[in-house]
Every structure is written in structure tokens, then in C-alpha cells.
Subunit: 123 residues, 2 copies
Amino acid sequence: MTDQLSRVFSALADPTRRDMVARLTEADHTVNDLAAPYDVSLQAVSKHLKVLEDAGLVTRTREAQRRPVHLEAEVLDLMTKWIERHRRRAEERYARLDTVLARMQDDEDPDRSTDDRQTGTAS
Amino acid sequence: MTDQLSRVFSALADPTRRDMVARLTEADHTVNDLAAPYDVSLQAVSKHLKVLEDAGLVTRTREAQRRPVHLEAEVLDLMTKWIERHRRRAEERYARLDTVLARMQDDEDPDRSTDDRQTGTAS
DNA sequence: ACCTTCTTCAACTAATGGGTTGAATAGAAG
DNA sequence: CTTCTATTCAACCCATTAGTTGAAGAAGGT
């Protein structure tokens, strides 16, 4: 899992980490702050943060003993781009399929042989 | 990892599975078809497909001995929605921060006390 | 019936992931 | 210098995952 895209998807596959990200959209937080709502050790939270950091989703600075965590929201665009690119391809394909199916439907029913392009009757 | 959103993120955290999804946007494929490009056993590919299926990303029907795999692209919207919701929140927060910073900048510089809202000079 | 094709099930292994506890570091504050 | 707070490192545990090989099941073709 060497590429960033994989790391980002993987990072957000965990509900706790998604919740952290959600809270970080509102404000930067210290590790202690972030840990408060969860029923796990501080060290576990620290690990979660490392995962988010390795994915590029958060950065951390220093402020006295604290290490405020900051969300790098632009990284989310990486995913959005991938998803939307493929979503779009699939949509286009479905559209083509619908067209094909509609034509087949027409062919099946010889009464309504009104082909849009060919104004005259078939030879 | 009980919720679907987690399963979908997790499913797409693997480059091979992403590639499969990418190929499935163009056409349905059999397991053999899908497996061809990868240097792993057929059983491994079958397992990958199970992950995608459990996430709701693909469905499989039967067609003689084959089990054609079909992409369910709408599921991608689940992710897009989550991501965009939080992306937007972060953006809004940044915007607010910029405003605050701009105000602080103004306060720091007493020469240019031209407040846009107040047409006359300050009292 | 038999063979072939396509696919999955079962059992195993090695690596990874999320959690734990205990010790170590970084910086303020006494 | 000691102590307190905030955070991380290290070692370990257990469950899950990605891969393997070998056997089995399901559907057609002969």
C-alpha cells in the first residue's frame, strides 16, 4: 500500500479516524482534546493520528508541550477526483447501454419501424 | 468495521481492487477476465471480489458457468457525500479564519483606519 | 456418464492493524 | 533540580487480511 491514494482511503476506513477528521474541520485540536470522546488509550489515538498524518490528511506543529493537529482538507480532493472520474465513466456507459436497449426494443416491435434517421421506409 | 461507509473506503484502499473497479466502469467482466492482468491466483481475485461485493460495490449474476461481475456505481456516492460534506465544512472554516486574520491585520495598522462600512472618519 | 471450464470453499501462512501497558522524551513551571 | 503535563516509543497480544495450494461444486459440451 505504497501510494498516497491507498493510504487516504485506508485512513478513512476507520470510524474513529473519520470522526477525528470531522471534528478537525471545525478547529485544530491537541491530541488530548481529540482523545477525550473515545474510550481508548491516548497511545491508541496517537497511532490513529500517525495514520492520518502518513496519509497527508493532517499536519502537526508544536506549541509548548502540545502538538496541535491541523486538517489538510485539500487531500480529500485526491479521493473525490478518483471517485468522480470513475463514477462518470460508469454513468456514460449506462447511458450508452440505455440507448442500445432502446434500439433493441424498437427492433423487436416491427409495427413501429419509424427510424429517426431514415425518413423513408426500409428497402 | 461494521458500517458500509467503512467497508467501501476499505475496499478501495487496495490498488488491485481500485483497478478492478476502474475496468468494471467500461464493461461487466467474468472472474477470469478480471484476473487476467494480475499476477495472483484466481482464488485471490475471487476474494477481492468478495470484498467489493460485501461493500456493495459490485453484484454478480449467473450466466452458464460464468459469474459476470457488475459495478454498482451509485455506492460511490456514499463516499462522495461524506467527503464533500467535510471538505465544505473545512473550507468554510478557512474562510472565517481568513476574515478574522484580515481584521487583525487592519487593527495592527492604525494608519489605514478606513472601515468600509463607516463612510465618515472614526470618532 | 465423462470431461472441461469457471468459480468457490477450506486450510494454512505471513503480514498488518488496532488495541493494550510501561517507559521515555519535550517543554513549562515549581 | 524536580515535577507536572502532553505526547510518543517499544514491546507485546489478538483479530483480520492478502496471499498460497488443493479439493470441491456448478453448468455445459461430447
